[in-house]
């Protein structure tokens, strides 16, 4: 029986498509919902690789040796190696978006419906935290918008508390104008929102 090492040495002379890196240190790109995949880079003193296709992986033998060229990995093998970690993956946080009537602390009619869904989900899911994040459009200064976002987030926080949500799990933030929904300067109403995140 030819040892893997001998096979690897032979492969250096013969262009065989054998991966000679063991996979004890392995980075695998996984598909997301919908099957798409992003990308990761794997880099050390020896060099780097970019993995940009789902179910491909790169092995790294040592900190000095360049990571291996990405290659396809059998999904069954991925499941075998990472099964426990995959099963332990938490549910994604749920996001709800609320809008206010122009220049007012009242929610729009549609947002009142969203608020009811939010409250109902909180009751069912019993979350560890409810984060409320105020956002603004891109008009004005970052500082002023940070404060405006905080005001709006606090207003929603008070609504949740008075609707019976445990204050201890509520976290209030403002992202001001720095995390817009629609990346456009100026008066974009869809950016003027309060986000509630249940996790």
């Amino acid at each position: 029986m030819v040892s893997l090492k001998k096979l690897c040495l032979a492969a250096a002379l013969i262009p065989l498509l054998i991966s000679c890196a063991s996979q004890k240190n392995l980075v695998v790109l996984l598909p997301e919902e919908g099957g798409k995949a992003g990308a990761v880079s794997v880099a050390n003193k020896g060099g780097s690789q970019v993995i940009d296709r789902a179910n491909q992986g790169s092995s790294i033998d040592s900190a000095e040796k360049q990571p291996s060229v990405p290659e396809a990995i059998d999904p069954k093998k991925i499941d075998k190696i990472f099964g426990h970690a995959l099963k332990a993956q938490p549910r994604k946080p749920l996001h709800f978006t609320l809008y206010f009537e122009f220049n007012s602390d009242n929610l729009t009619a549609e947002s009142k419906v969203v608020l009811n869904s939010l409250l109902s989900e909180i009751r069912v899911f019993n979350p560890s935290a409810v984060a409320i994040i105020g956002h603004t459009d891109l008009v004005g200064t970052s500082k002023a918008n940070h404060e405006l976002g905080l005001e709006r987030a606090n207003a929603v926080g008070k609504i949740l508390v008075s609707s019976g949500v445990n204050q201890a799990i509520i976290e209030v933030y403002s992202h001001g104008m720095d995390n817009p929904l629609i990346r456009t300067k100026g008066n974009e109403p869809r950016n003027r929102r309060v986000e509630a995140v249940i996790r």
Binding site: Q23, K24, N25, L26, V27, V28, L29, L30, P31, E32, A37, G38, A39, V40, S41, V42, A43, N44, K45, G46, S48, V50, I51, I60, S62, A63, P67, I78, I81, F82, G83, H84, A85, L86, K87, A88, Q89, P90, R91, P93, S128, A129, A131, S142, H146, G149, L150, N154, G157, K158, L160, Q167, E171, V172, Y173, H175, G176, D178, N179, R199
Partner: protein, 165 residues
């Protein structure tokens, strides 16, 4: 209860308005199975579902353990058995231009689903391991580390991660 105490409690509640804002936790434990521990400030803590996670926490699983954590920016990290990671950095404050998430993975298996920090500042997202740095652009990936280098303190000896275009 005496009315004086009630007034005091009411006043205190008003002061503890919702604008108390956030504490400095970075996320919560959401799934737990088997032997799992958190090392924090030289103490070993047994986590509970819903429990908070802080920067510099070390998450560790035993031979039968697994754990899943959700971060404040929606990043999901889960560990399989015999794993150890440290949460080196977590900053999620876009208005103050503070965005970063860095994990050190010493050993075991991890599945990582990136969140909003990776969308806003992908260059600020990194997983450091004894043999390589992993750079992330909005994505889901898994890492296995043998972790047999006891001299790796988590300090970066390897080269800088290349940036993803």
């Amino acid at each position: 209860m005496r009315s004086g105490s009630l007034i005091l409690i009411a006043a205190f509640s008003l002061l503890m308005a919702v604008s108390a804002g956030a504490d400095d936790s970075v996320g919560n434990v959401k799934t737990l199975s088997g032997n799992v521990s958190i090392e924090r400030d030289n103490a070993i803590i047994t986590p509970m579902i819903g429990g908070k996670i802080f920067r510099n926490d070390a998450l560790k699983t035993g031979a039968d353990g697994s754990v899943g954590v959700v971060f404040k920016d929606d990043t999901l990290v889960s560990l399989g058995p015999d794993s150890r990671i440290v949460i080196s950095e977590f900053l999620f404050s876009p208005s103050e231009n503070k965005l970063s998430i860095v994990m050190k993975m010493f050993r075991g298996t991890m599945v990582y689903l990136s969140g909003i920090i990776a969308k806003l500042a992908p260059e600020a997202v990194r997983v450091e391991t004894p043999v390589a740095n992993i750079g992330v652009r909005g994505t889901k990936f898994a890492v296995r580390m043998e972790g047999n280098d006891p001299s790796w303190s988590g300090e970066q000896k390897a080269g800088r991660s290349s940036s993803l275009k």
